[in-house]
């Protein structure tokens, strides 16, 4: 009886499906490959899961509201490169990081203004900013400035490589933020607003929810998180790369949808962003470990996404039919 209650409660989470898949996948990898659970592999997994999850978490907040942000990859790249630039100009680490985060949040805020106050659709606004800031990344990294972006201070490198209880500091930060956002989503009014607005924007606005303000807030958070992911990535790889975050936005979007989000809005949670990202990274890892040609990755991911979306649509349709809406 009690077990049933618990399972029902767990099933209520939008990330339930992806969590199951992740656990299943994890066990398969554990049994299938002797190299999966060695320290080196786990560390390299963390190094990609932590930054990606940051981006996915920011994106998930937008997806809950029925929007998305295609500029996350460019923001990640731009903030990472900006942070590297500041660090190599001998600024204190804290100030450099804060400025880079502010830059990311600023770009996010720009997206927010374009969408919420200028009335441009999220797709177009964020494609635009994606082009613009990818252009800036390329511009910086192909100029003579790029050569000087090495040799970061000791403390920053430590942030990327130090381990605390077997995990990188960035993984701890990531877990902390995911838990924090999840609690905010589930327990606070602010969190509920995301779902109300995603469920029905017009009635939310009629009921007096600050739809525009929330849109602005969500885009700003997304920019901030992308910047955080970029800084983590730079700290880990100890270099600013021209391709940092290039084309990553599609992967992040897929991670969020696999993690239980729906582009129609009103659905998803930040834990799902984590499990969706873990799933994608594990899939990538599986291709490496089993020596399968990584070219099949795109086929598999695309197939899975189409499958998940179709199932999601089928369930929604059945629900609507039951309610007599069709």
């Amino acid at each position: 009886m009690k077990l049933r209650k618990i399972t029902q409660k767990v099933k209520g989470f939008d990330c339930f499906f992806s969590l199951l898949v992740c656990i299943f996948f994890f066990i398969c990898l554990l049994l299938g490959s002797p190299y999966f659970f060695n320290q080196q592999n786990i560390l390299s997994l963390q190094a990609s899961i932590a930054p990606y999850t940051m981006l996915a978490a920011g994106m998930m907040l937008l997806i809950i509201m029925g929007m998305f942000d295609l500029s996350v990859g460019s923001v990640m790249g731009f903030s990472g490169i900006f942070c590297a630039y500041l660090l190599t100009r001998n600024l204190p680490i804290m100030i450099a990081v804060v400025l880079a985060l502010a830059a990311g949040a600023g770009i996010g805020a720009l997206n927010g203004v374009l969408v919420a106050y200028a009335g441009i659709s999220p797709l177009i606004a964020t494609i635009g900013t994606q082009f613009i800031f990818r252009g800036f990344c390329e511009l910086i990294m192909t100029s003579e400035l790029a050569v000087s972006l090495t040799g970061f201070p000791e403390g920053f490198l430590k942030f990327g490589n130090m381990r605390f209880l077997g995990l990188y500091p960035m993984t701890w930060i990531m877990l902390l933020i995911v838990v924090l956002l999840q609690v905010i989503l589930m327990k606070t009014y602010l969190g509920k607003w995301f779902y109300y607005i995603g469920g029905n924007k017009i009635s939310a606005s009629t009921m007096g929810f600050p739809v525009k303000g929330m849109t602005f807030l969500a885009f700003t958070i997304s920019g901030f998180m992308s910047a955080l992911g970029g800084i983590m990535s730079v700290a880990r790889s100890q270099a600013a790369s021209r391709y940092l975050g290039n084309g990553i936005q599609v992967d992040i979007l897929i991670a969020c949808v696999v993690g239980g989000g729906s582009l129609l809005g009103g659905k998803g949670d930040v834990a799902g962003a984590l499990t969706g990202t873990i799933f994608l990274i594990l899939l990538d890892n599986a291709f490496n470990l089993f020596g399968i040609n990584s070219l099949f990755k795109g086929v598999v991911i695309g197939g899975i996404l189409m499958f998940v979306v179709a199932i999601d649509g089928m369930v929604a349709m059945r629900r609507m039919k039951a309610q007599g809406k069709i």
């Binding site: 200028a118 177009i124 599609v250 070219l295 991911i301």
Partner: protein
């Protein structure tokens, strides 16, 4: 949306595309020596005429408020697949092209079925199909030895009617025919009704799902056709073909005056948008401006065009 296409009053926002094209053209024509040379103009037209194939089906979808993000990867796949059948399997060229077009068309139709059957968000579905098709393209690409294709394959894009490449002539013909169809022929007008209000269209007896499926099929088919010609032009297969094409097509359509909500846009407008982007790339490289700044300019123009459009639209709604 209700005040969109149905009323026949002149709206400034209908002409943003042509105004921008003329402005940019004048700018480059007056400030550079080489832009206005006939070979340069011809190069721009020829480049656009190949990508233009991909925008045909895509525009139909945009008009109906749907989107197909898989155009870029289909564009890439078709060239590689044709090369595989032709060069590695030794099929006759016409058969290879026919098979590729049929396969891509069927795949597009399947995506359309998926979208219409479960009322799915087409962006989500095509996000998946984009990844799927791009993956398939990569798999095929690595399964045969890459060489420069033989003369026969390369001749497709080079074929000329008189002194003009056939793609340019076809581009002009298709634009004229489809533009008239979209204005006058009821079967095409239906797409605007669907884009304006899908639910009402169903009530009026328009077979929304069927039209959407056909449009998805057309989108994949035309993208595949463009990809084959593009591969024929560069004379070898490359995974970079069509990279980011979906986004530049969206930019072209929207700058030309389409709306992602549906109900607006036309083939001519999409063509104008593509011409604008091509002229920008061309003109900025005459100025020896970094190709990366072109990214920045493209993004800024996209946002600006839509922003102006939204403002004008709001004013129109108020009066």
């Amino acid at each position: 949306m209700e005040h969109g296409q149905l009323k026949r009053h002149i709206k400034l926002s209908d002409y943003t595309g042509i105004i921008l094209v003329i402005l940019v053209f004048m700018l480059f024509a007056l400030t550079t020596d080489t832009f206005l040379s006939s070979s340069n103009i011809y190069a721009i037209l020829y480049g656009v005429s190949i990508q233009f194939f991909a925008v045909i089906g895509f525009t139909f979808l945009i008009i109906m408020g749907e989107i197909d993000l898989a155009v870029g990867s289909t564009y890439c796949l078709s060239g590689i697949f044709t090369g595989y059948l032709y060069a590695a399997k030794g099929w006759p060229l016409w058969l290879a092209i026919a098979v590729v077009l049929i396969v891509c068309g069927l795949f597009g139709y399947m995506v359309g079925v998926l979208v219409t059957l479960f009322r799915l968000n087409s962006m989500m579905v095509t996000l998946g199909s984009m990844s799927f098709v791009a993956g398939t393209a990569a798999v095929i690409f690595n399964s045969f030895v890459q060489t420069t294709y033989s003369q026969q394959y390369r001749a497709i894009a080079k074929w000329k009617l008189g002194t003009v490449h056939w793609t340019i002539i076809v581009m002009v013909l298709i634009t004229v025919v489809l533009e008239i169809c979209l204005k006058r022929v009821p079967a095409f007008r239906k797409m605007y009704y669907i884009g304006n209000n899908s639910a009402t269209s169903i009530l009026y007896g328009i077979k929304v799902d069927r039209i959407k499926r056909i449009a998805f099929m057309l989108s994949a088919l035309t993208a595949a056709l463009g990809g084959i010609i593009s591969t024929s032009r560069i004379s070898y297969s490359s995974l970079a073909t069509g990279e980011g094409l979906e986004f530049s097509l969206i930019t072209a359509c929207v700058v030309g005056g389409a709306s992602l909500d549906g109900g607006r846009g036309s083939i001519l407008k999409s063509l104008l948008g593509m011409l604008l982007l091509a002229m920008l790339t061309n003109g900025l490289s005459i100025y020896r401006i970094d190709p990366f700044i072109q990214n920045i300019v493209t993004g800024a123009i996209l946002i600006l065009a839509v922003f102006v459009d939204v403002r004008l639209d709001k004013k129109g709604a108020r009066t």
